[in-house]
Symmetry: C2
Subunit: 155 residues, 2 copies
Amino acid sequence: MNLEDEVRYLILGLQREGNRQIAQVLAPAAVTPSQAEAISLLAEHEVLSLRDLGALLVCESGDSPSRLIDRLVDRGLVQKEISTLDRRSLSLTLTSKGVDIYRNVIEPAEVGIRKAIREALSQEEINQLHELLMRFAGVTNSSGALNARRERQST
Amino acid sequence: MNLEDEVRYLILGLQREGNRQIAQVLAPAAVTPSQAEAISLLAEHEVLSLRDLGALLVCESGDSPSRLIDRLVDRGLVQKEISTLDRRSLSLTLTSKGVDIYRNVIEPAEVGIRKAIREALSQEEINQLHELLMRFAGVTNSSGALNARRERQST
DNA sequence: TGAAAATAGATGACACGACATACATTACAC
DNA sequence: GTGTAATGTATGTCGTGTCATCTATTTTCA
C-alpha cells in the first residue's frame, strides 16, 4: 500500500480506536464521546444555540445536532429554552446534573486522554504532528469547527 | 486549547471531512466509503471469510461485518457461500457486477484521493506525517487492520 | 468418544452521522 | 407594510459502528 493510502487509513484507524477508548472511559456514566464533546462545549460557553453548538462540534457537520441534544435533555443534563430574542433559536445550558457529570466524569476523562497522548509521543513529536495535521486539515477544509472555537473564545 | 486536544480533534475532523468527501465521490454509484473499503479488499484478495475481511477492515472493529456485507449481497455486488472446509465460515467473492463497480468507480476514486493528498502536502510532509501517525497508532493499538494487511499480502 | 471450550457468524439494541425535507420565525426588499 | 428570502430547528431515512447475546459448527482434551 502506498503512503497516501496508509496515511488515510491511519487517520481512520486512530479516530476509531480513540473513539472506542474514550467510549470505554465514559461508559460508566453512560455518556458517549459525542455527548461528552457537546457537554464540554456547554461547560465552557455557558449558553449556546443549537446552531452555534453545531459550528463548534467537530463530531458532526454543521447540521444542527438536535437529536444529540435531545438525548441529553431527556437525561436531564441539558436545559433547552426558546430564546427570547429570537423565537427560532434555542438557549442551551447545562443543568446542575450536567455540570456534575462534566466535573466528575468528562473533565477527568479529558485529562486522562491528554496524558495518554503525552505518553504515546514526545513533546517534539506532538508539535510536529500538530503542525502537519493543521496544514492537512487547512488544505482539505477539515478545520471548520476548530477554527470556530478559536474565534469564539469562551462564553 | 492545548496541543493534545487539538491533535485529537484534528484527527477526528480529518476523518469526518475525508469521509464526507469520499462519500460524495462514491454517491453516484450508491456506494458508501465502508462498502468501498470492503469491495476493494475483496478485489485484492479474491476470497475472504467474514472474519478475515473484518480483520483487514479499518472502518470496523474486528467484529464480523455481517451487515455491511449483507447489503452488498443484496445489491448483487458480493457473493456469499458457505465454506466447504468449515461450514461455520463464509467464502466471500465479488460478483462480476462487483468487479465492474470496483474498476469503474472505486479504483478511480482511490486514485483521486491519493492525488488530492499529494496536492495537499509535499512528499516530505507526507513522509513525516506517515511516520508520526505510525508511531502514534502503534503505541495506541490503532494499527491492527493495517498490520493484518501487511502480513496478508494479496490472496 | 464425549463433554466442554473455542470459533464463525447472525441478530437485537442503541446512538450516531449525513442528507433531504418540512415548519416556524425573522429579516429584507420594495 | 407585505411578499419573499433567509434562518433556526425538527424530523424522516439510511447506513454505519459498537456491544451483547444467540446459534451452529468445529476443536480440544480428559
